[in-house]
């Protein structure tokens, strides 16, 4: 085990974990950031997506010990952010389990300069899985945020 200070949602958190431990498990079980969801463990579903220094990252595939940047999880995202608002107004989620991953990826897209268009965002989102099949609503929500 090692001890390290991680910067999560604008806070410094000192935490002990294993050398081989993915960031996902440190965030969700040791730091209780439960929006970071376990889905596949190998970067195939996107449920564990967090934003590190502005980039969307699959937290299941990177080791916590290697992270030095600022980590943002859905807990740390402004609740009046347009992405969250559009997810509510289009009534996107069903079970909702995968949605924090989708939201964090879409949020990361809003940070890009120049702003990507909706098709680029949707093409990026094809790396995420929603088993309830909320894709049509995600598409509508994305189109409401990004230019055509």
């Amino acid at each position: 085990m090692l001890t390290k200070t991680l910067s999560v949602n604008s806070q410094k958190r000192q935490i002990r974990f294993y050398e081989s431990e993915p960031l996902l498990w440190v965030l969700r079980e040791r730091l209780n950031l439960k929006s970071v969801k376990f889905g596949c463990g190998v970067g195939l579903c996107g449920a564990c997506t967090v934003v590190i220094d502005g980039q969307p990252v699959r937290s299941c595939t990177i080791l916590a010990k290697d992270i030095n940047g600022n980590i943002l999880t859905l807990e740390g995202l402004d609740k009046s952010h347009p992405v969250i608002k559009s997810w509510i107004s289009f009534q996107v989620p069903q079970c909702g389990y995968c949605q924090s991953g989708f939201i964090m990826s879409v949020y990361a897209m809003t940070l890009k300069k120049p702003l990507p268009n909706a098709s680029e965002v949707l093409s990026f989102l094809s790396s995420h899985i929603c088993r309830c099949g909320t894709y049509e609503r995600i598409t509508k929500a994305v189109r409401s945020i990004f230019p055509e």
Partner: protein, 622 residues
């Protein structure tokens, strides 16, 4: 289990109670006969029944609560009940008003009416409208607690290493070595045959798993793969059927028939792929047991807990957080039983988490099937012979479900049960997915062979006017078929038509547009919830049509994660055209009935456009 029912059931109560929507909150019920579905006699979210079965009880609940408040207010205010108006969560009297809550104390002392007066349809304030879902704000603001998020003081974690092949169990393992590893508290062979490892962190379990050396018992499935399984299921049909029923005189008619097609369809095991894998927190301390499980059945979770702990009923508590998907899988209580067994062993709270690979290896798939469909007739089809070889569910009833949409004068229905060590379970729509595909695709193969119009053919043999009207409606909305494929199926009390247009791009199938028309019977509670279920079912139906196949190799699951078990992605969703209709018939379900029609509609489109038959799912044109 998208949990739209949190909203659907609550709005029914709030409607009868005349309560403001923004002040409604919902929590899931504990395991108790008080909350039994009156028709099923247990707590189970399944069979597309939630609103169908609970609408009337929930209306009565809201109405009797309102009546209690009125009665209590009349006592507290000394005003006759008739002079009070209850609206918007308030009791209005003599130009004044007071919130319902003020009268709760007195109301608690009164007996609720068993037959309260229900509202007239014209008086509904929410039913038929789409108030915003109650669970969405917490789900998008990181406030929702799912099964996997359950926590307890001094929580331990567990994994359950599963055998590489189905039907085998752990015989022994290097326990003394595992127990020496960091943070490991216990390791033992579970009743399920998996090896459980309990440690102080989840990652410690995973580190210990790498060191596991397990001796597994022999499996009856050693060497088996998908091709051999299909062969085995096909050969089963050479023997006696498990059940055979017929009507008319199929044996004699077949000799007279002038038109005939016979097709064999192969449909694979399907994995539920809930994005939240099986997970459960159990906390047994010797006197009581708390179970926090993302379960579709509190009753079954309770039953396994009672069985393992032998505790009195009152010392068992089942809590249900949000489920990260269910699709039938989470009604099986095996993962709950494992968590309880783990906690009982150490008498401490233990959270069991299946990794994706564990989850796939645990099985409980939709069964694989081989179906043989023979359709024969003269100018129209008059004979259906349907034979299915599959692993039975519901005592075999699921194998032959949904075969009565059309009026054939002669039928022969035969079921060939296959008993196999690969566990199978309810997968959204259960037996309807294989059967609707087989029948609906076979009908178009017949229509094409004998130059008939697939729409007119169905109109000629559909059983009732409700089905015909729906089909006509859908056809009119779509316009000229022009290579589009039609499929009809009724299940769970609802009727559904899908029309799809697919094209080939090199060797992949692109579905451009899908129209769905669903007749849900006489009551539409929350149109947007129904629409969500339809949207989701189209995606799941298309996913099974184009992508999903659980590969078995050497008796075990070869597909262990989403790289080898394909699921539909956002860029593959076609243009959707959804029509929700009501009719005078009894209320139907909406969670499942749309899934079965999608694959045959797509296959039929490829048939009419390219002449390609689909005898094996998923559709992979070569």
């Amino acid at each position: 289990m998208g949990q739209g029912v949190f909203t659907g059931l609550a709005m029914v109560v709030a409607d009868e109670l005349d309560f403001p929507w923004e002040r409604v909150f919902v929590s899931s019920a504990p395991a108790s006969s008080t909350y039994f579905d009156p028709k099923m006699g247990l707590q189970l979210t399944g069979g597309s029944t939630s609103l169908k079965h609970m609408l009337e009880p929930m209306r009565k609940l809201g109405a009797s609560l309102k009546d209690l408040i009125a009665h209590a207010a009349s006592i507290d205010l000394s005003i006759p009940k008739d002079s009070l108006t209850l609206k918007d969560g308030k009791v209005f009297y003599k130009n004044q008003s007071a919130p319902y809550g003020r009268f709760i104390k007195t109301a608690m002392t009164l007996r609720p009416s068993q037959e309260p007066k229900l509202k007239k349809e014209s008086e509904f304030i929410y039913i038929g409208k789409s108030p915003p879902r109650l669970d969405i704000p917490p789900k998008v603001k990181a406030e929702a607690t799912f099964g996997i998020d359950a926590k307890a003081e001094n929580l331990l974690y567990a994994i359950a290493e599963r055998p590489p092949r189905f039907g085998s169990k752990a015989l022994e393992f290097n326990r003394s070595h595992i127990l020496k590893l960091p943070e490991v508290e216990e390791a033992f062979i579970l009743s399920s045959g998996a090896v459980g490892i309990i440690a102080r962190s989840f990652w410690a379990c995973q580190i210990a798993r790498k060191e596991l050396k397990v001796v597994w018992s022999e499996s009856s499935l050693k060497g088996m793969d998908n091709a051999e399984l299909y062969e085995l299921f096909l050969k089963r049909m050479d023997k006696e059927p498990s059940k055979s029923t017929s009507s008319g005189s199929p044996q004699t008619y077949i000799k007279k028939a002038t038109t005939k097609i016979e097709e064999t369809f192969f449909q694979p095991y399907l994995y539920h792929a809930t994005i939240e894998p099986m997970t459960c927190l159990a906390s047994f301390d010797g006197r009581s047991c708390l179970v926090v499980a993302p379960t579709q059945s509190q009753t079954w979770a309770f039953d396994v807990t009672k069985n393992i702990t032998a505790l009195p009923d009152k010392n068992i508590e089942i809590q249900t957080p949000y489920l990260g998907g269910g699709f039938g899988r989470k009604s099986h209580a095996g993962f709950v039983a494992e968590a309880v067994e783990l906690s009982k062993r150490v008498k401490k709270p233990v959270k069991l988490i299946y990794t994706r690979e564990d989850d796939v290896r645990s099985g409980f798939y939709r069964p694989l099937s081989v179906t043989k469909v023979l359709i024969a007739g003269d100018s129209i089809p008059r004979l259906l012979s349907f034979k299915i070889s599959t692993q039975p569910l519901m005592g075999g009833r699921a194998s032959t479900s949904g075969l009565d949409d059309y009026s054939f004068e002669h039928t022969l229905i035969e079921r060939y049960d296959v008993e196999l060590d690969i566990p199978v379970w309810f997968w959204r729509s259960v037996g309807h997915t294989h059967n609707a595909f087989s029948i609906e695709h076979a009908l178009d193969i017949y229509a094409q062979k004998f130059s008939q119009d697939p729409f007119k053919l169905r109109m000629a043999i559909l059983k009732d006017q409700r089905a015909k009207s729906l089909l006509e409606f859908a056809k009119e909305k779509w316009g000229k078929l022009d290579g589009a494929g039609i499929a009809y199926h009724s299940s769970f009390g609802s009727r559904v038509v899908a029309i799809a247009k697919a094209r080939l791009d090199k060797n992949s199938v692109i579905v451009e547009r899908i129209l769905v028309a669903i007749d849900i019977g006489k009551r539409l509670i929350h149109p947007d919830l129904v629409r969500q279920q339809v949207e989701g079912s189209v995606v799941m139906g298309l996913s099974l049509a184009l992508k999903e196949e659980l590969f078995i190799k050497d008796g075990g699951a070869l597909s262990l994660n989403f790289d080898s078990y394909g699921l539909l992605r956002i860029d593959e969703v076609p243009k959707l055209d959804i029509h929700i209709l009501t009719s005078d018939s009894p209320m139907g379900g909406v969670g499942e009935p749309v899934v079965p029609v999608i694959a045959p509609a797509v296959a039929n489109s490829l048939l009419w456009t390219y002449g390609i038959k689909t005898n094996k799912l998923p559709i992979k044109p070569s």
